[in-house]
């Protein structure tokens, strides 16, 4: 953890849908170069939290800041979200998606090499000229991942990124996230795959009914619960 206002700071985030409070005064921090796992049972408010952070939902209350700078309505420029349902343009090829991201995000010259390396690494280089409509769910996910990384936002949010990826893709994703951590990107991953995240993330945030149940480094949490596995800890906290 980095002290001060470095990284993504979320304070008192609240989102209601009518009478239902989906996210309830949630506060946490994701430092530069940190991977935070967002865990919770179904309907806990994970996706809603990510959508609020990405600027796709308007929170009812709370403050979202990057390096101490409050992120306003256009925070989509600072926060890239890879959604659970990978939505791509049916009528753009893989490469054209990357061209559009590069131009619309005003990337400086040299992005082509980076984009080529990304598609190669994620195993979609031979799909370069394939239209979005012909891509499988896993391929779409990889494409969105490539777009999200290429956009070079300081914050990357991933919602259930492993669903749809084959074992090779899951390993590449893990390696890529480690790389991005080295680049000091703040990463937040919402998932149900506890074992996958255990060896990867630096910290975790467990939520239920929109409220934080636990937050902090995994080892600290396990130690507090007598050294039991993350799965046991998670089940104990969310089912109590």
């Amino acid at each position: 953890m980095v002290d001060g206002d470095q990284g993504l700071t979320v304070e008192g985030l609240t989102k209601r849908f009518g009478t239902v409070t989906a996210v309830d005064t949630l506060s946490f921090r994701v430092s530069r170069g940190q991977i935070l796992a967002l865990l919770g049972p179904n309907g806990a408010g994970k996706t809603t939290t990510l959508l609020c952070l990405a600027g796709l939902l308007r929170p009812d209350a709370g403050r979202i800041a990057w390096d101490g700078r409050v992120l306003g309505p256009t925070r989509g420029r600072d926060v890239a979200l890879i959604p659970e349902t990978p939505e791509v343009y049916d009528m753009l090829t893989v490469w054209e998606h990357l061209v559009f991201v590069a131009r619309s995000c005003r990337l400086r010259d040299g992005w082509e090499e980076e984009a080529a390396r990304l598609v190669d690494r994620l195993g979609i280089a031979d799909q370069r000229d394939t239209l979005g409509e012909a891509l499988s769910k896993g391929m779409r996910q990889k494409l969105l991942l490539a777009c999200g990384v290429l956009a070079a936002t300081p914050v990357l949010l991933l919602d259930e990124p492993m669903i749809g990826l084959d074992p090779r893709g899951q390993r590449e994703l893990r390696d890529l996230l480690v790389e991005l951590r080295r680049r000091e990107v703040a990463i937040m991953v919402s998932t149900h795959l506890l074992e996958y995240m255990e060896g990867l993330c630096d910290g975790l945030l467990i939520i239920k009914r929109g409220r934080a149940l636990a937050a902090g480094p995994i080892q600290d949490l396990r130690r507090e619960h007598g050294g039991r596995s993350l799965e046991d800890v998670f089940l104990e906290m969310t089912e109590s």
Binding site: V20, L56, G76, Y89, M91, R103
Partner: protein, 551 residues
Amino acid sequence: MIPSPTLPTRGEGKAAGGDLKALAYLDWRLLVNRVRAIARDPKRLIPWLIFLAWFGLQVPLRLAIGSSRRTPRLPGVLLAGAASLAPGVYLVIAGLVLRAACRRAPAPFSSPADARFLIGSAIPPRLVMLWLQLRALRGQAWRWSAAVVIYFVALPTLTPNLGQAATTMVALALAASFLLGLRLPLFLVARRNPRLPLVYLTDLVTLAGVVSLAAAVARLLNYEVPRLDLPPGSVLVAAIGGDLGALALLFALALGAGALSIALSGDTYPELWETSVRSFTLRRWLRSGEMPSRGDLRRARQDAGLQTRARTTVASDRGTHVPPGAWTQLWKEWLGLRRGLPGGDVTLLLIVGACIAAGLVLGLLARQGPRGLSVGLGGVLGSLLLTFNLVGSYRIGPDLRNPLWWLSAADLQARLLVVNLAGTLKQFLPVTLIIFFAALAAAQPLVFVIGAPLAFAVVWDLRAIGLATYSLFPNPADIRGPGGVLRFMVFYALAIPIFASTLVVGGITRSFVVGGVMGVTVALAEGILLVLFAAWRIGSNGLAFARAERQ
């Protein structure tokens, strides 16, 4: 490894010019790839080429017919009647659209990907909004141009020349753009000032429209009431009539509303996205010719993370009176209709009320209104029903995809016949309600005796034609183009034996009723044959149809 030194960084130097280039690149590549995708499957082009050739041939033919002095013109009384109703109708529509705008922002994105990529880009929101408005304008231009051509081709007697048709469509497009442009500003005002009684103000607009409409109907029924042709509907009527000042005013209103939308769109992404998610679902379903249920919309919102997964429970039907075999399909459709209707019983009551009102107005106009107006308006309603069934899409993919559908002990023919019956009843019941009250108000029971069975037979045949065409063109895009032409042709072809049998049997027996019964019987038999044809096509290959429908 991705070496950090080559990490692309976001440049701040390239401003609006670069952003516009990015947006232009997006739309250009979407267009190019769409054309390529169409060209990739040349077989699919054949019915389209036949369709376009047919359409192209119609234009000179219609020109010749339209310029002929012997061509009967649409009665002036119908045009005058429609013009007198237009201001009220426009205000009612405006009131309802603006009421919805108080609660919900417009949905400008064209697809979920469009929303995600544009919102996540570094392009300023106002520029994105300007681009989306230009896109909408482009869509409107295409739509209304097509409408001008179809209007001109299909109804040569409605308008003396193409210029008049074009003026009408431009005026309608501007009036629609004005209304649509007002939605975002109104939504923002309502959001920032929740205590303002804006919804009540929009209800007043609707009420003013109803009063204007009632006054227009009363005048048509020869009652002495003052004219209440209120703007902007009256401006629209003047513009359609060729008044350049009115046309300029409509243009200024549309431009102003659009500019206001762009100016206020700096912080509206979350709301635009939320409404867009709903709109994507609606559009997907409307393209398939059906309304989404509340459950469909709720699922779409849940999938998009816009709503928590609240459990909806309803009292289960005890199933004691459920018909067996293929008839179970009818019970399932009934449950779906009751539970899926947006707005529930209120919507049902509104539909019933509207049908009763329409029937009463038509009947009263027939009794004491201008000669021919009632028949003309009834004809317009009938042609709307015809167009809806012949041009709209057809969809049974959700059934074909469902394993439960294939578990049924009843054979496919029987199930498709019941599906056709369910689809027929959904349209037949409101139509019959209109006919019944029209006959009642006009004091002509024969209208109901003849009209109701005729309406059933026509809708039954139309649904069967839709199903048979679906079994040839399951893709929603194809079923609207070449499939639409095929349906028109089949409809006219099927009308021949119906009329022939009616005339022959009616002539032999010298009984209009017997002839009518014969015609209705032939129509029903034709429908059954078409359903059997569809069953033969779809049988044991249902999933392929469901997949083709989803493309």
